[in-house]
């Protein structure tokens, strides 16, 4: 299945783009998507462990099953204000 990932904050420095498309074997969860992204490097994998993930305007857990067409938002540690 194909899913789209939108990269926020410093995560974009590791993907080089705001949007990344992943192809995953079914069934897959958010954790599988993060594991695939983490193959890009140890430093990014470490940042991914500190990321929250959202679908739409809801935070989701790593155990959430994915479906084709899902769009994940990758939310690294926040620093507003």
């Amino acid at each position: 299945m194909e899913i789209k990932v939108q990269c926020y904050g410093p995560t974009r420095r590791y993907t080089g783009a705001e949007f990344v498309t992943l192809t995953l074997h079914e069934p897959a969860t958010v954790a599988d998507a993060l594991a695939r992204l983490g193959e890009r490097g140890d430093e990014f994998a470490q940042l991914l462990r500190q990321c929250a993930v959202a679908v739409g305007d809801e935070l989701v857990r790593r155990t959430r099953p994915l479906q084709t067409g899902d769009e994940l938002a990758l939310l690294p540690p926040v620093a507003g204000g």
Partner: protein
């Protein structure tokens, strides 16, 4: 538009007047906080900042935090707006206003709402330095504490009100 309906994430300069336009006859206290862009960080001169946000989630979370803090501190009105985009030195990145019957609740709620927004809402700050380089300010993990695989320890350390500086813009 009533101040209660304002988008909490805005790309235009923030207006304090708009946030306090609706008075409250039952409140004797109005507290206001503005976080402004500072010209240095860790002894490096900062030229400007760029804030980005997951706007739909950030807007929803700020409204939830406002309700939660208002209820906990018995404040009558609790509102926060955060700016995104490029901000020059001295511009306001965040405005928070609280109205309450008395000042003790208003001060406490103001501090709590600003701390919660800084620690829990998906907003990122990138600093641009005078040598042309830039860096994202290190922040707080917002994954659920029991979300397997997420390193959520930093968030726990910020669940309480505190005084320490950790890379604030103001």
């Amino acid at each position: 538009m009533s101040p209660a309906d304002f988008p909490r994430i805005q790309s235009a300069p923030l207006s304090l007047d708009a946030l306090i336009a609706d008075g409250r006859d039952d409140c004797g206290a109005l507290t206001i906080f503005a976080g402004t862009v500072r010209n240095h960080h860790d002894q490096r001169p900062v030229e400007y900042l760029v804030y980005t946000a997951h706007a739909p989630l950030a807007d929803k979370m700020i409204r939830e935090i406002e309700r939660e803090v208002a209820a906990r501190h018995r404040a009558t009105v609790c509102r926060v707006v955060h700016r995104i985009g490029r901000l020059g030195i001295g511009e306001s990145a965040i405005l928070a206003v609280v109205r309450a019957p008395h000042r003790a609740e208003a001060f406490a709620a103001l501090r709590a709402v600003v701390d919660a927004v800084k620690h829990r809402v998906p907003i990122w700050k990138e600093e641009f330095y005078s040598d042309g380089s830039s860096a994202f300010v290190t922040g707080c993990c917002i994954a659920e504490a029991d979300d397997a695989g997420a390193a959520s320890a930093p968030r726990h350390a910020h669940e309480h009100d505190h005084d320490h500086d950790h890379d604030h813009a103001h």
